[in-house]
């Protein structure tokens, strides 16, 4: 029978596009024949901001990229600047950085699990995820005063040392999470309806995943044993014991499971950090400034320094919760970067989505899209 294809606009304002994303779907009944993705509704010109602000002033803007997990954004930019200028970082600062980043990975995966289940219609998981996320956010609040937009990691260290009572609270959180993850797994992992919705949906092979530029947990779900923390260890990851979680199937369920495993690994890393955390300074004050905590008489040692790296360019990348987050920073020897380019994981992971969903149905699009785990702030920059 000759039928007409239906053009369906999913988004920009739609319950399950995680923001302002638009799918232009060409539908044959319920089956997707063509999927075009329109992005850019949240474009704020962050890269242009990078050219207009000093190195230190740009850090708050990186918070607004992937606002679910902002700490790795901070770190990725700071790492690029540190590589460019050759800044040494105190060991304690590195430990604190990894601590906050792994905590953020847990937060990100909690939100991802919750929103995936919400997209599939199970609305309880997101509240459980947010309950634990709240505990983690309170840790952040006591650490740096902000809950989502941290501006915590600075070139040369971190803004402030851990507050009193942080480590006991963190231990409590880790203990709590151990029990909660079991709850999540019982609630979600074996659920037959969840399995029906995610198994063999949005399958992408390892070669295709690489070629389409997928990174992070989404790609490890396709069976690529690759984690930048392992391959190019940065910070103190080479001293820590963890493994890159991986699943072979390449479907939505595998991508989901990778994240559950990663939460466990992150907890494992957090435990090691709590054990190993060294004493010492948290910032290299030659290059950056930290809040003035002393008496006003001590002001002279805290006077801000104008920070000018030498001319050059660098591309540095880290394993953010969503994938490979890279910052290309070109310096021309002035106080402001000449060019900042952000390689955001969400943007590149989204390229592979049409490949995954053509021939499937709208509910499958939602399921596959949920497991790619994007944030529109990160896509549109």
């Amino acid at each position: 029978m000759e039928t007409e294809t239906l053009l369906l606009n999913v988004g920009p304002v739609h319950p399950s596009t995680h923001g302002v994303l638009r799918f232009k779907l060409r539908m044959d009944g319920e089956i997707i024949r063509d999927c075009q993705i329109v992005v850019g509704y949240l474009h704020r010109g962050t890269e242009k901001f990078g050219e207009m602000k000093t190195y230190l002033q740009f850090i708050p803007y990186t918070d607004r990229l992937d606002y679910i997990a902002a700490m790795p954004n901070n770190y990725a930019f700071v790492k690029a600047v540190e590589e460019l200028a050759g800044i040494e970082v105190p060991l304690r600062a590195e430990y604190i950085r990894v601590l906050v980043m792994e905590l953020n990975r847990i937060i990100n995966h909690l939100v991802m699990m919750g929103s995936l289940l919400l997209d599939l219609g199970g609305s309880t998981m997101i509240m459980y995820g947010f309950r634990e996320r709240e505990n983690a956010l309170q840790l952040y609040e006591s650490l740096c005063g902000a809950r989502m937009t941290f501006n915590y990691i600075r070139p040369g260290g971190v803004r402030e040392d851990l507050p009193e009572g942080f480590i006991p609270k963190l231990n409590e959180f880790i203990k709590d999470m151990d029990m909660r993850i079991v709850d999540y797994e019982e609630l979600v992992n074996g659920n037959e309806i969840f399995l029906m919705r995610t198994k063999n949906i949005g399958v992408i092979s390892a070669e295709e995943a690489i070629n389409y530029g997928m990174t992070g947990p989404s790609m490890r779900g396709s069976g690529v044993d690759y984690d930048i923390r392992k391959v190019e260890p940065y910070s103190i990851y080479s001293d820590l014991d963890f493994k890159a979680c991986m699943r072979m199937e390449g479907d939505s369920y595998a991508r989901y499971l990778v994240r559950v495993d990663e939460m466990r690994e992150s907890l494992h890393i957090l435990r090691q950090i709590v054990d190993k955390l060294p004493e010492g300074k948290t910032i290299n004050q030659r290059y950056s400034f930290a809040p003035n905590t002393g008496a006003p008489s001590a002001v002279t040692s805290y006077f801000p320094r104008i920070f000018t790296p030498a001319e050059g360019e660098v591309y540095s990348r880290i394993e953010a919760p969503k994938g490979e987050l890279g910052f290309f920073v070109a310096s021309d020897g002035t106080t402001k970067p000449y060019r900042v380019k952000i390689r955001s994981p969400s943007f590149c992971n989204l390229v592979a989505l049409p490949k995954m969903v053509i021939g499937l149905k709208i509910p499958d699009l939602i399921a596959a899209f949920g497991t790619i785990d994007i944030v529109l702030g990160d896509v549109d920059r």
Binding site: D63, R159, M179, G294, P304
Partner: protein
């Protein structure tokens, strides 16, 4: 779909039902965690970055906060006989760079987070609303 014939018992769903039932009955550490916001509030951390406050005695009106602000939130205005910063909180990122940069340690950020208002103009916090006098410790 073929596997559904193997999953007749629906063990997974029953497990999930048990988890939700545990929450209904609040068994273990599964109690209600939300707060009734306007009636009860959560305590904010001491480091919380909310509305700014300027120490009237310490501030010298040097403008270092103004140059360090990423988003041009701060302007230095004349208030009485002296110069003080004025904050346009509608543009503020609450990044805390001004606090870090202040050479006199005069700036701080309070735990005041309920800053919603009806007009953009009322979000400009002039010195009259942000100045405070530090209590002299004896």
């Amino acid at each position: 779909m073929a596997w559904i014939s193997k999953n007749w018992a629906m063990i997974g769903i029953i497990k999930g039902l048990i988890v939700t039932m545990k929450h209904i009955l609040q068994i273990g550490d599964r109690k209600t965690v939300t707060v009734q916001y306007p009636y009860e509030r959560m305590k904010v951390a001491p480091r919380f970055r909310g509305k700014h406050a300027v120490d009237e005695d310490a501030c010298i009106g040097c403008g270092i906060c103004e140059t360090n602000c990423p988003n041009s939130t701060i302007t230095i205005v004349k208030y009485g006989t002296r110069w003080f910063p004025e904050f346009n909180l509608g543009m503020c990122l609450f990044c805390g760079l001004c606090v870090d940069a202040c050479p006199m340690n005069a700036l701080k950020m309070t735990g005041d987070y309920e800053l919603a208002d009806y007009s953009r103009e009322s979000l400009v916090y002039g010195p009259e609303r942000i100045l405070f006098k530090k209590e002299v410790s004896k």
